[in-house]
Amino acid sequence: MTSLSHPTAGGTSAPASPHSVVHTKVYGDAEHLQVPAAATHVSSEQMLDWFKQMLLIREFELRCMQAYQEKKIGGFCHVYIGQEAVAVGCTAAVQHKDPIVTAYRDHGHALARGMDPKHCMAEMFGRIGGCAKGKGGSMHMFDRDNNLYGGHGIVGAQTPLGAGLAFGCKYMDEVIDGKPNSRVSLCFLGDGALNQGAFHEAMNLAGLFDIPVIYVVENNGYSMGTAIARGTTMAHSLITKAAGYGIDGYVVDGMDVVGVYADMKRIADKCRATSRPAFVDMRTYRYKGHSMSDPRKYRTKEEEEVFETHDPIGRLEARLKTAGLLTDDSLKAMQKAVRDTVRDAITWSDESPIPPMAELYHDVFVEPWGPYTGSSQPAMNGGTANPPSMRTIDTKEELS
């Protein structure tokens, strides 16, 4: 078991340093999960796939930072470097049909969910080939075919939505189709969202209504520049917040993708079986600033270096090499493939046209009226006009 200092220290005991808590692994009632160990078996193919996904996300984010400097990307841009194991491990632990919703640091989730990097990059370039036709931007990655429900910009806003997605799944299965609930929803949030009212209301509703949503707190220790213990009570034991809502809480080492997968698989399987919510304090770290304009004056170089030695990519690389699953040559080949993929995404995005002006009044309402021209899916999903099921009835026809 790896030990690492996490800025999560503090809270009621008010230690001298904010970086003194040692942590990893699921605790809580592992035996109550009642999931056989075999269920979390990990194959070498899976590990190699996750390794490649993490390499892709990191390369993608590094090139995003570069593109931001080149002013190809505007607005706010928050990169996921350091946190790759969370999105990759969590996504692997649930099924494709399970909805995912997250906050604004969302590129990693989009890629892990299967969005083609070119649509993700083009969105940030403000091009029509983007997942949201260039109308959302970095903070609003949506992918209907991959069950990704955003990309949300206001801290904590996605937490009631996550409850609603899970409520919707359960309602559809149980009330409409008359079968047991089959889906769990993953709702990611940063540790800063823990102090928003919306989060607490969502937790209360999830606990009250038996909603199968898993709140995954990507606890990177900082809400922007504020160390967690400076802004959040009980920062050393966030799962106590879940206990207040009757929700099972777990702590997971978010710097180890295999561990993330194994722990999240058990948690997700339990939520699916019991149709109950869960709360995960996922300990992770972002190597870069909150956004592109953050000089990281609020923490030490030493702290960053400690976490870099626990890099999720480096850790898995070592593990794969030890197991004989990765060689220097195969690593180089993988890195080259990833670089090519991201470079192609950038070229593709550069060449994707800017949105035509007609897009300004498109996608405001499903039903056309006044200046609004209805809505259609992005090219990523085929570009077809939204189907009748998404369109309102023709009241004139119904009236006649």
Binding site: F142, G151, A163, L165, M172, L205, D363, F365, S375, I393
Partner: protein, 329 residues
């Protein structure tokens, strides 16, 4: 055809919801006290019994939570109807209802619609004081991506609510506690009322009165009074402010040459100011006077009966505006 029955405004709302819930299992109702209490204002009376607790859902006092939950469910393809006991309480849910519902389709590039109806009491009730008397249309009509209906009578309430529930876009449905007991003719057979179609409810030749929601009734009172003075008023009930049926108002003003807009929300940056602006633009050469406006006074809502009465639009203020607009002072 059988004689048209009369029912209360609250019954019309319930009929609309119940009919749509029978028609479509994706429709469900949630809000504070909607189920076991039978509705804080008895709008949902009996619905728990008919549809069960899975579809008529009591929530805790947690507007931000349950409004956001409804939006998430709508993104999944369900059709939630959210009852706010009062629209005044929607302000603590400002982020979900203003940032999520109206913008989801746009910022997802057309991928996720948000077919949710938020409904509840809007405007002054009766001595409810400053925080419980909001006319939220003054705030919310500023936001693109939502439709806003403000029906003045049971017939419109039912037809518009059914359209709202059947639609594919977010709707804010603004009712009034002061009208819930009002009776009106509502046919037994099913009907729908399209959004964006105003109704001329009284024909006249000298001055156009344009309003929506509860003040429509004050307009009718004022029109009666004006008739005694020989001033013929045409009264238009807009029924929805988003979409706003400017065409019907313009046709009327081109005929009358005078216009009074009556809006219960505050005057500064309101649907009333927008309507007046549009009338000025489209009827620049037809107006004999500037468009007059009657709003609530530009102060927090007072408690004392006399002050509250003077604060709100009323028939006397409307009559004064008509006389001024038509140079009959």
């Amino acid at each position: 055809m059988s004689a048209v029955r009369e029912i209360e405004y609250r019954d019309a709302l319930r009929e609309a919801m119940s009919e749509e819930m029978r028609r479509d299992k994706r429709v469900f109702l949630l809000g504070e006290e909607v189920a076991e209490y039978n509705g804080a204002y008895k709008i949902s009376r009996g619905m728990l019994e008919e549809f069960g607790a899975r579809r008529v859902i009591d929530t805790p006092i947690s507007e931000s939570g349950f409004a956001g939950l409804a939006i998430g469910a709508a993104m999944m393809g369900l059709k939630p109807v959210v009852e706010f006991m009062s629209w005044s309480f929607s302000l603590v849910a400002a982020d979900p209802i203003l940032n999520n519902a109206p913008k989801m389709l746009y910022m997802s590039g057309g991928q996720f619609g948000c077919p949710v109806v938020f409904r509840g009491n809007d405007g002054a009730g009766g001595q409810l004081g400053s925080t419980h008397s909001w006319c939220v249309e003054g705030l919310f009509s500023n936001v693109p991506g939502i439709k806003i209906a403000i029906p003045s009578n049971p017939y419109d309430a039912k037809g518009l609510l059914k359209t709202a529930i059947r639609g594919s876009d977010p709707v804010f449905f603004l009712e009034s506690e002061r009208m819930l007991g009002n009776k009106g003719e509502v046919p037994e057979e099913e009907y729908l009322i399209p959004f964006g179609q105003a109704k001329v409810i009284r024909s006249g030749t000298d001055c156009t009165l344009a309003s929506w929601g509860r003040p429509v009734h004050f307009c009718m009172e004022a029109a009666e009074e004006m008739q005694k003075l020989g001033i013929s008023c045409e009264v238009i009930d807009l029924r929805t402010v988003r979409p706003l049926d400017i065409g019907t108002v313009v046709r009327s003003v081109k005929k009358t040459g005078a216009c009074v807009v009556v809006d219960q929300s505050w005057s500064f940056g309101s649907p009333g100011s927008e309507l007046a602006s549009q009338v000025h633009r489209h009827c620049f050469d037809d107006l004999d006077n500037y468009v007059h406006r009657v709003h609530s006074a530009d102060v927090p809502t007072p408690y004392a009966t006399n002050l509250e009465q003077e604060y709100l639009p009323n028939a006397r203020k409307i009559a004064e505006a008509v006389r001024s607009a038509t140079y009959n002072l």
